[in-house]
Symmetry: C2
Subunit: 439 residues, 2 copies
């Protein structure tokens, strides 16, 4: 019987999922691929802890080099994570002419251009579906299903931890801190949650998606990143009154000679299906000139959903091998290498969007006129103003929604407004993504 | 420059979309595929009507045979529709060794087993992504992205006409007839809407999906089909009171030695994301042992969304040709031919689900006890009962929701209940798909 030999490096959560699927669904996978995906080795520094899998003798080992050097291994699946050993092992795998599958978004976002170029030169496949959106086939969709489309925008909820926390604040009125604790207790957040809640993980994913959609080199460093730690139940409540939910969005838009690439908490209207993506689920809405809007939705992390995406990559490569296809059947970054350009990311100051402002201001005649005067002077047109409650002599929240305004103008106006003696605290600014209100 | 020659048969709505994309996005597609997808011929019996496309001289012709016989043509795209000429041309294309792309769900559902077998024997690719769900990559997802999963169920909103009509009834309280007229006026329903509103189109699509998911021959004839023409604003209103929306669902479930395959109006809870799929949009939720629940959402029909799916198939085939991959790199029906079985469709009488009943009954003591007595006798356990309004001496609606019950028992009970002299009219029965209420 034909078989494709796989070496798995790293048997943590997702690695264990991959091993389980390869073993438990072996016959199913064989009946679809036409050959067994044979898990020849699983290497991990910890071979003591029980993974709940009965490996055949000699499969579960601690020596990764043995796997990398075995001439029978066709595909290396890297599930170590991080940018140290993982990078070194992947380079070795490429050097040894082995196809590579990884879920390592940090590595691809930071070193993808170099690694993928090396893989292409060596004539091997390098697949990373599981690096964005867990089980959702967003990379396959961009590279294959949407091949006939000019992609115009992508809007994604790409971090389950943030979405879980925001859903808790929204549905149960919890504070950010309480929701984070609960997420940690439920296993939906790490002990150190910075990478997730401050938006860095989402940025890694957007860097990858922008490259695939727009034919650009992977560019992580220019992405604007703002996390969710400043989101309060009060703003979520007000958002709800205006028909919006707050989500941490990854926004990647084609702007002709540049792309928008930004991560920030964003209000989206209830009738946008993304606003119904709750708990730890992920989704991404891709807009293209032919498809209009298309959405993928599913679990963006976790042992088995991520494992499923890894298996799909391994099966793709196996099918290439079995059918005699040259590597690079589908270009690694979606476009032929000679068509990949350096496209600049638009500075956030240049973007136009709608805004929600919440000021804390004295409840006194004339205050509104002062604030709106400054906004007007900076070309910011107000769509609606709402004073929340009354407190003569004290401070009340004043909420404003704007028409389309330029970020640089907003910054200038707000710094002037903060100098007003009737305005206390730093105002809250939340961007709004509302296709129903284009002006 | 390398090129792949395409012959397009049929230039109606979707055919025109395909031609537009191949011409207007030619350079974009080339930069991704690595070769031009060259539209060598477009054949249609009507070459007079302006399609809004400027074809090069000699491209737009009326002679389909010329296209089928041209040795330079690599891929035939069949956009004629129906089961007559389309079938004949596809057979000729296969005979001549040309790869085939089609969106013809009726043809695949009825003759797919034979046509795909012929294609496999001839060693050509035969692709039909656009036959289900328009732009959504549901076929690619089942065949490739979910290759490591045992699929357990698929629940889809697969007909935009029905979803548009149901959304109109739900949101605007219109009758079925009024909503249908509006759909026809807006171009969302055909002059003869039978194929759509009676569920046949949805059944064609489910037959295809079941085959791909479960490794079974395509089986259209055993699918249980019930359309939406009996749905009233009253039942939609009551559904809303219980937290449900009514959608026409295609339900395909793995039941071990059999599959469920049924099309009917169904209540689904508000917190199921499918209940937020409105207007003419489509979606399908696929559940697998690794991914959990994964959803695709987008336009299920229309010139450009369907055109996009057709182009993705043509690009896949082009990539196989360019990379030297043997045809059948991915098996046409998802499983290797020797692993495709005849799996029986479970008779609808055997299924267990939750039910909504609406009886019209005299507002008189003892009526409820008679009805519930008959239900109990047939093993149907009532979850809740609601008498809607009061009309002493007249008829009122009595609504009941059940726990899991067997369809055959429901039929027996209802025919007994209809014999009661206190119950008028035929009761309304709507099935409920509620994962929150498993008992």
């Amino acid at each position: 019987m034909k078989k494709i030999n796989i070496g798995l490096l790293g048997c943590g959560t997702v690695g264990t999922g991959v091993a389980k699927l390869l073993i438990e669904n072996r016959e199913l996978i064989r009946s679809r691929v036409g050959a067994a995906l044979n898990l020849k080795y699983v290497a991990d520094i910890d071979i003591q802890t029980d993974r709940g899998i009965s490996f055949d003798d000699g499969v579960f080992i601690s020596d990764a080099q043995k796997v990398l050097d075995d001439p029978d291994i066709d595909i290396i699946i890297e599930m170590i994570g991080g940018e140290g050993l993982a990078k070194e092992f992947i380079q070795k795998a490429i050097h040894n002419g082995k196809h590579v599958v990884t879920a390592n978004k940090a590595l691809i976002a930071s070193h993808g251009n170099t690694l993928l170029r090396a893989a292409a030169e060596k004539g091997i496949d390098f697949a990373f579906e599981a690096s964005v959106g867990g089980c959702m086939p967003i990379i396959k969709s961009l590279r294959e299903s949407l091949v006939g489309n000019r992609i115009t925008s992508m809007i994604g909820i790409l971090n389950g931890t943030c979405n879980y926390i925001l859903s808790k604040i929204t549905d149960e009125g919890k504070t950010f801190e309480a929701a984070l604790s609960e997420a940690q207790a439920s296993g939906f957040a790490e002990a150190d949650p910075t990478l997730d809640v401050e938006g860095f993980d989402t940025a890694h994913k957007l860097a990858i998606l922008n490259s695939l959609a727009y034919g650009m080199e992977i560019n992580l460093k220019d992405i604007y990143i703002e996390g969710i730690s400043g989101i309060t139940p009060l703003d979520i409540e007000f958002a709800g009154e205006f028909g919006y939910r707050i989500k941490l969005l990854a926004i990647g838009k084609d702007k002709g000679d540049a792309v928008e690439a930004r991560i920030h908490p964003t209000m989206i209207p209830f009738d946008n299906i993304l606003s119904n993506v709750n708990s730890n689920l992920n989704a991404v809405m891709v807009s293209g000139d032919a498809v209009g809007d298309m959405l993928l939705y599913g679990y963006g992390a976790g042992m088995m959903p991520t494992g499923s995406a890894v298996i799909s990559d391994a099966a793709d490569i196996a099918r290439n091998i079995l059918s005699g296809a040259k590597a690079g059947r589908v270009p690694l970054l979606s476009y032929q290498s000679e068509n990949i350009r350096k496209i600049p990311v638009m500075p956030v100051d240049e973007i136009f969007t709608h805004y929600y402002f919440r000021f804390s201001a004295l409840d006194r005649p004339g205050v509104l006129s002062k604030i709106s005067g400054i906004l007007g002077k900076h070309d910011i047109s107000i769509k609606s103003v709402h004073q929340k409650g009354r407190k003569t002599g004290g401070s009340v929240p004043i909420v404003m929604l704007t028409h389309l305004a330029k970020e640089a103008d907003v910054k200038k106006a707000l710094s002037e407004i903060m100098l007003l003696d009737v305005v206390g605290d730093k105002p809250v600014i939340i961007r709004i993504e509302d296709q129903n209100g284009q002006d």
